[in-house]
């Protein structure tokens, strides 16, 4: 696998007050076996908070897919899925 899974955390106002502030711990919380396959970065407001259909903040994008009501556990599970899919392909 050459490409890492790209995780973008929204640090916009809305996401931040809705729990996104905890997500800065994500990088440290990554299980050791995932660390080399994931790249975490921050982002200003994605704009999803203003689209009624996008769901509830905080938002995180994993390889471009929006995750709503994001928390660390949810993100890690999703990363696992993406990696598993990648291996299957």
């Amino acid at each position: 696998m050459s490409k890492k899974v790209q995780v973008k955390i929204c640090f916009g106002t809305h996401c931040y007050v809705m729990g996104g502030s905890h997500l800065e711990m994500l990088e440290e919380s990554l299980p050791a076996e995932l660390k080399d396959y994931v790249e975490v970065s921050g982002s200003p407001c994605f704009g999803h908070c203003e689209e009624k259909t996008a769901g509830t903040p905080p938002f995180v994008e994993v390889n471009g897919t929006i995750i709503e009501k994001a928390n660390i556990e949810l993100i890690i599970n999703y990363i696992r899925e993406v990696l598993a899919d990648g291996i299957r392909e």
Binding site: T13, E27, G42, S43, P44, C49, E50
Partner: protein, 394 residues
């Protein structure tokens, strides 16, 4: 002071005598907007500690109020002497003062009483306007005499004034048996200005005071204070916050920012996104929040890019609490305040589109309306820190 040929930067700084809880040197600065005037007073109360502070602050505020009202200096001085409480040990009431009255075109009047002389330093060296003697009242002897003088300041002139804690610093030491003395301070200033001709008033007052403190072996034997007035070319800053009301104005906003000559700050995630899109530059966001605020980001060409409303709220709170231009710590709000302090003319470009999501009653905190927070910040910057501030809505 818009038509002024220069910006008048004023800053003051004090260190207390070792072991005292409060400073006996007091500064008062008043801005008379309608007349485009500034009056600054430094008063040194007799002795040190609380008693000196009472004398000093009474003197400074009375002098400032009288001079703002155009009272003659003699009447001002007499009124102060009559009002000051008498020291029980020394059976006298005494506080020195330096009054600096500046018009926006540079016309300056100075009154000195008991403090070391102030230095007027321009590009071509020290200026020594002729001083006139004025007796405090008709019974006054030679010890109760004031000096007054006037001059017209030019761009790059500085007025440096200080308390005797500065001139007496180091007194009794081998190198400075009589203290730093006026001549010593002058030489120091000249050398320093030769090396850093653009040094701000803010930095210069701190330099002078810390130098004097060092001469007292870091345990000041008296209150040590310095003030500087610097007639400078204004340092400009543009801070842009909030998306424009009409989407069509996005490009105009980005263009205004891009072409601005001075410091540029973006405050708000959506604003940052717009600028990044319009100017085709990446936004890089840090990963660590500092002081409980979302981390700041980086866009090439900008001095600071922060989150919006939470950061502005914190800036308001910090500005409200601050009593000087000394600010410690890190984080986006502190960083923004530092940018303000390093600027003279600050322009807010405020986007007026309402973020509907912020009105969501389910939010765990109440988010203030951007416009209102900006107004509060503007008022603090103008009234407390004497910045020239303008707001443009877009």
């Amino acid at each position: 002071m818009n038509q002024s040929p220069f910006f008048i930067e004023i800053d003051t700084f004090s260190r207390m005598k070792e072991g005292e809880p409060i400073c006996g040197d007091c500064f008062v600065t008043k801005k008379v907007k309608t007349e485009q005037r500034m009056v600054i007073v430094l008063s040194d109360g007799l002795g040190s500690g609380v008693k000196a502070n009472v004398l000093g602050s009474m003197t400074a505020s009375m002098a400032a109020n009288f001079i703002v009202q155009h009272e003659p200096v003699q009447r001002t001085a007499t009124a102060i002497m009559k009002t000051l409480p008498v020291d029980s040990e020394r059976q006298m009431s005494y506080a020195t003062f330096t009054i600096i009255d500046i018009r926006h075109d540079g016309e300056t009047h100075i009154v000195e009483y008991g403090n070391p002389r102030c230095e007027i330093i321009g590009i071509d060296g020290v200026r020594t306007p002729e001083r006139k003697k004025v007796y405090v009242d008709e019974f006054a002897d030679e010890s109760r005499v004031m000096f007054t003088f006037s001059f017209k300041a030019k761009k790059e002139d500085r007025i440096v004034f200080y308390s005797d804690g500065v001139t007496q610093a180091g007194m009794g030491s081998l190198n400075y048996p009589f203290g730093w003395e006026e001549g010593g301070v002058r030489t120091y200033l000249m050398n320093h200005l030769k090396d850093t001709p653009q040094i701000s008033a803010r930095d210069l007052v701190r330099k002078v005071v810390s130098h004097a403190v060092a001469k007292d072996y870091f345990a000041p034997k008296d209150d040590i204070s310095c003030g500087v007035v610097y007639f400078r070319k204004p340092r400009k800053m543009l801070i842009c916050t909030g998306p424009p009301y009409h989407n069509e104005d996005d490009a105009r906003m980005a263009d205004l920012l891009n072409r601005f000559d001075g410091k540029k700050v973006i405050c708000g995630g959506t604003t940052a996104r717009i600028v990044s899109r319009e100017l085709n530059r990446d936004v890089k966001v840090g990963m660590v929040s500092e002081g409980g605020l979302p981390p700041s980001s980086k866009i090439e060409g900008f001095d600071l890019v922060t989150e919006g409303i939470l950061t502005l709220g914190r800036v308001t709170k910090l500005l409200d609490e601050l009593n000087s231009t000394t600010i410690n710590g890190d984080g986006p709000a502190v960083e923004m305040i530092r940018q303000f302090f390093e600027s003279d003319e600050i322009k807010f470009l405020v986007g007026t589109k309402i973020n509907e999501a912020h009105q969501d009653p389910n939010l765990p905190v109440e988010l203030e309306i951007r416009r209102n927070v900006v107004k509060k910040i503007v008022r603090l910057l103008e009234e407390k820190f004497f910045k020239e501030v303008t707001i443009q809505y877009i």
